[in-house]
């Protein structure tokens, strides 16, 4: 962990993709909540792996297989350290946050949730933290409940206890809202849920690019995240689960690697974490994700958080100066997202005009339709920030918004 001061120009130099023109303008990338760009160190790790070490893991007796297995398991240890899990067996590699949540819904859910039971989520969840629970509830005859949000975009936590009943089998809550940027006080939420005997899954997809996460400190039972939203490759993600909870869960997908022995009569399942990793995993993805974590630590997460917060404040002030703009990101604690609408202009039209200015944002429902409907809108414009963004990026966004006003004068 370096104590060097944060230098955004140096950070930008590490991300080759940022140095290009789109539509004749310098690229302004404000869509990191959809996926972050990758530093050269991550790209190099992938190239190095495929150039020198590629082989299947946990299988071969040959040198390459030993190397790739070491690198893959080394990545698991790196990730354990990064989120401060107790043991590498608590780190399960999956395709991404979505798959992690589906794993919990189908393995934990199918074995622990029964007819008449309840699963509690919040109105702020991404569709991938809603639909797997809907599917589970339909399959087992359980009820899905939703904790509401207030007009600022904060959870109505005063209603938490009332929604945790003796039938609640799990609470799933996002750490950071991808549509608004609200940061939820998950440590406190976990404590209150545990007091009622309810285990908690935290959707961490939008958290790790912005601040340090310590799963033991949060004390959550599950923590799910995607590599590609924290400067790592697509196709890799992690389900952290407390060993005691994971041990009690049946396997989810069947296949190679997740077994010890197979006969026609009986299969003996492998131990953790392999029991939940059927088939050949995304080896290079795991290695790339570990490289992303190395990169985050080299830059320094505290410095990144400070930069992100400063940029968010600068962006908030800048957007508040745009006439007719309605900002939705107003929660008490926020991270990385500025969600807004312009009077009488649909988000899509804003997106198209900004794109012509080289500014990449997202326009739409951000896979959070229940949340947007709380605000009575079907779509917003979302500018999302990462460590490589600058005041100039925000200024370009604001200039683009003035252009929108011109077109729709």
């Amino acid at each position: 962990m370096s104590g060097a001061p944060f230098d955004v120009a140096r950070v930008r130099a590490d991300f080759p993709i940022l140095h290009q023109e789109v539509r004749g303008r310098p690229l302004v990338y404000l869509d990191s909540a959809a996926t972050t760009q990758k530093p050269q160190a991550v790209i190099d790790a992938l190239v190095r792996y495929y150039t020198h070490d590629n082989a299947n893991v946990h299988r071969g007796v040959h040198a390459l297989s030993e190397r790739s297995t070491q690198a893959y398991e080394g990545a698991r240890e790196r990730i354990r350290e990064f989120i401060n899990a107790r043991d590498t067996k608590e780190i399960i590699f999956v395709r991404g946050c979505t798959e992690a949540i589906n794993l919990v819904a189908q393995s934990f859910g199918r074995s622990k949730v029964g007819p008449g039971d309840e699963v509690l989520i919040t109105a702020m969840e991404h569709h991938s933290d809603i639909v797997p629970w809907q599917m589970l509830c339909q399959q087992v005859g359980a009820t899905l409940k939703m904790l509401p949000v207030d007009e600022r975009g904060d959870l109505r936590l005063e209603q938490l206890e009332a929604n945790l009943t003796e039938r609640t089998r799990l609470l799933a809550v996002t750490h950071v809202s991808n549509a608004l940027g609200t940061v939820n006080p998950v440590r406190d939420i976990v404590k209150r849920a545990h007091a009622k005997g309810v285990p908690v899954l935290v959707d961490g997809a939008q958290a790790l690019a912005h601040f340090r996460v310590d799963v033991q400190d949060l004390d959550c039972d599950f923590y799910a995240f995607s590599g590609h939203k924290m400067f790592g490759p697509t196709g890799i993600g992690v389900l952290y689960g407390k060993a005691s909870v994971l041990e009690s869960m049946p396997p989810w997908q069947g296949g190679g690697d997740m077994i010890l022995t197979v006969t026609m009569e009986k299969t003996v399942y492998n131990r953790l974490p392999y029991r939940f990793e059927a088939g050949t995993p995304d080896i290079s993805g795991a290695i790339g994700l570990a490289a992303a974590m190395d990169y985050l630590d080299t830059v320094g997460l505290d410095a990144i958080s400070a930069h992100d917060q400063e940029l968010l404040e600068y962006g908030t002030r800048a957007l508040e100066g745009v006439p007719g703009l309605r900002l939705f990101s107003r929660a008490r604690e926020r991270s990385g997202v500025l969600s807004f609408l312009m009077e009488d202009v649909h988000a899509h039209d804003v997106g198209t005009i900004l794109d012509r200015e080289g500014v990449a944002i997202r326009a739409g429902h951000h896979c959070a339709q229940p949340l947007l409907s709380c605000f009575g809108v079907a779509a917003t414009v979302r500018a999302s920030l990462a460590m490589y963004n600058t005041h100039e990026d925000i200024d370009a966004l604001v200039r683009g918004l003035h252009k929108v006003r011109e077109v729709f004068a």
Partner: protein, 150 residues
């Protein structure tokens, strides 16, 4: 403004987007269909009153961007008094226009709808421009169900 933006947001498009014509449910409608764009959550409903094979009245309601509203508004003006077959032919023309551009198309037959030609330079917006038309086609086919642009 870049010229392709100007082509997309032509005066007529902006005007129809702002003040869409026939933005209402048709009284005594005997056909209706919803159009839904799952990409952005935009949703509109087209209602028709058919007399035999002829569209006697058509309207739409719902929410969407300037392009989808303008396209819907222009559509309602263009298909009134058309037979089902003629309306379908117009759909094909508009579809070609926004997908492939105006080259080789019968622009006379398109009439006012020709202002949608700028959409072609914006692949991400083709679905916006065709949303109402998909709903119209579903309504003409007598399907009561919701259609999606996916």
């Amino acid at each position: 403004m870049s010229s392709d933006l100007q082509d997309l947001y032509q005066e007529v498009v902006l005007e129809h987007g702002k003040r869409p014509r026939n933005f209402r449910e048709v009284e005594g409608a005997n056909r209706r269909a919803d159009g839904y764009n799952p990409l952005c959550g935009d949703q509109l409903t087209v209602t028709l009153r058919m007399d035999g094979d002829v569209i006697k009245d058509v309207g739409f309601v719902g929410q969407g961007c300037a392009i989808s509203r303008a396209s819907a508004s222009l559509m309602t003006g263009a298909v009134k008094e058309l037979s089902r077959a003629d309306a379908e032919r117009l759909f094909e023309l508009v579809h070609k226009l926004v997908m492939e551009g105006p080259e080789g198309l019968d622009m006379e037959a398109l009439g006012k709808l020709a202002v949608l030609s700028g959409v072609n330079a914006f692949p991400a917006r083709v679905k916006c421009a065709s949303l109402a038309w998909h709903a119209l086609r579903a309504a003409l086919e007598g399907k009561e169900s919701s259609v999606s642009t996916e």
